[in-house]
């Protein structure tokens, strides 16, 4: 049974239609990437899934229930701001772990801090961390308290190549252990193929799925897949979906 369902969802600001009649169904336990031309409404779709925006028409369903407001079970990692700056790294993770209580929550945070490599920085404020560390904190914050869905809006766009590759490995490690649904908005074809089970490509605005591609590699994946025939054909298929717009 799908955990996320968008039924004929439309959304617009004033007179501009951003999403038009979108039907989408996503199962648990996978990583899904949403791609499309700039300004096509990818981030808006993510906000609709999270409950931060209400559809103008149609409905968003989460775990079989109509989504009325944001929930701690649907975590969102925003593009530019990843944690509360007035809270330390540890406190940010504790604030996320709403489902556990007392000592249990503290142990879970210790464990998470180790996994994201910030155990030695737990008393620092987010503003005292490097860009890569902040992204690791953002991932950790999203996964604290074991939500069912994590939504990532261009999570690694501000990082350099080395930091990105580090983050790809970390994300796959964390996902393998958690095994929930991750939805990623990205511009980067390589990133999408490397991380996702399923890739959706949109038309130009308003958002409407033009096509989708399944990636059948097992996880964890590394850079070595980029020389395989499967990788090349998947990338080619995605680029073709983009090119339809350019014509």
């Amino acid at each position: 049974m799908p955990i996320i369902e968008l039924n004929n969802v439309s959304f617009g600001y004033d007179s501009t239609l951003v999403v038009r009649g979108l039907d989408l169904s996503i199962d648990e336990g996978q990583i899904v990437s949403i791609m499309g031309p700039s300004g096509c409404g990818k981030s808006t779709v993510l906000r609709l899934i999270s409950g931060l925006e209400k559809p103008t028409s149609g409905g968003c369903v989460f775990a079989g229930q109509l989504l009325e407001r944001p929930s701690a079970l649907l975590r969102f990692s925003f593009q530019d701001y990843d944690a509360f700056p007035w809270r330390t790294v540890r406190q940010n993770l504790l604030l996320g772990g709403a489902s556990e209580k007392g000592d249990e929550r503290s142990f879970a945070v210790d464990d998470l801090l180790r996994k994201i490599g910030l155990a030695d920085h737990d008393r620092k404020y987010p503003t005292e961390l490097s860009g890569g560390m902040r992204k690791r904190l953002a991932l950790g914050r999203c996964l604290a308290g074991k939500p069912r869905v994590v939504l990532l809006d261009e999570p690694f766009s501000s990082l350099d190549a080395d930091a990105r590759h580090e983050m790809y490995s970390l994300l796959q490690e964390l996902w393998a252990e958690w095994h929930g649904l991750m939805v990623i908005v990205t511009h980067d074809v390589h990133e999408a193929v490397l991380l996702s089970h399923r890739i959706l490509v949109s038309e130009r605005a308003p958002f409407r799925t033009r096509g989708e591609v399944d990636v059948l590699f097992g996880h964890p994946r590394d850079e070595s897949i980029s020389v395989t025939q499967e990788y090349l054909s998947v990338s080619q298929r995605i680029r073709e979906l983009f090119r339809v717009d350019a014509r």
């Binding site: 999270s50 409950g51 931060l52 407001r69 944001p70 929930s71 701690a72 079970l73 649907l74 975590r75 969102f76 925003f78 530019d80 701001y81 944690a83 509360f84 700056p85 007035w86 809270r87 604030l95 996320g96 709403a98 404020y125 987010p126 503003t127 005292e128 914050r141």
Partner: protein, 294 residues
Amino acid sequence: MKAWFLIDAVLLGAILVIIWLLFHRQRLLSALAAFSKGRLNRGQLAVTWIASGLLFLTIWDVLSRLEPEGINKVPGPVQTVAAAWRLLVSGPLIGEACISCLRVVIGFTAASIVGVGLGLAAGSFLLVNRLVVPVNSFLRYIPPTAFISLLIVYFGIGETYKYAVIFLGVIFFITQMVIDVVEDLDKRYLELALTSGFSNWRIFREVVVLSSWPRVLDVLRINLSAAWTFLVAAELIGAEEGLGHLIAVSQRYLRIDELYVGILSFGVIGVVTDRLLDLVGRRLFRWHYVRIKQ
């Protein structure tokens, strides 16, 4: 007289030369202050403070020796320091300053507690906003000194009256400025809180209040200087103690140097309390200052 002018001129020239020697290599003289401030090291900062003080004293000294017609004697810095020393050692300066400080602490603390509480609530909750903002805007436009006569009628000229003048002088401004701070809050943090499953009350405590503190402290620093203004207004009328009273008495007996000491004492107390609040803010809200530095 001419010798003094010469000394002042040399002093002024020396200050300008020191500033020039220190900063001309870094092209800071022509740079905008806001951009160059962060590029000064501790030594340079100390020099700018000293140079700024010396500049003020020199200009004051020059003006005090001009003796323009129709204006009473202007005591120079040396005479004023001598009078301050006299008032410190054998006179009432410390006692009067302590009494004034106590009045400001009581009146200003009461206004801060009520104003910050109201401002945070009115900035966050629509119903409170609609109830508070129109009344507060109306009261904010009434000059606080206009309340003085009314307060004397109600409280006489005792201590309560002075606290009330300070309280009414700053509360409406603190409330409005705190509302502005909350309304300026980066809405993205509210979304971060919503997607972390926070309730409205938790968003108020965890996001609105905690993120606003550093700027609320700035609001309090600004309004503290206004509190001193209203204290003087209150003390000039019917006070028998306090710095305002010292000023009134000095004026009555034409002790101009002591009048200067009284006035400048406010500046000294103001700078000290401002630095203290700044230090407290940097200690308590390290995250905010780290962010500003970046």
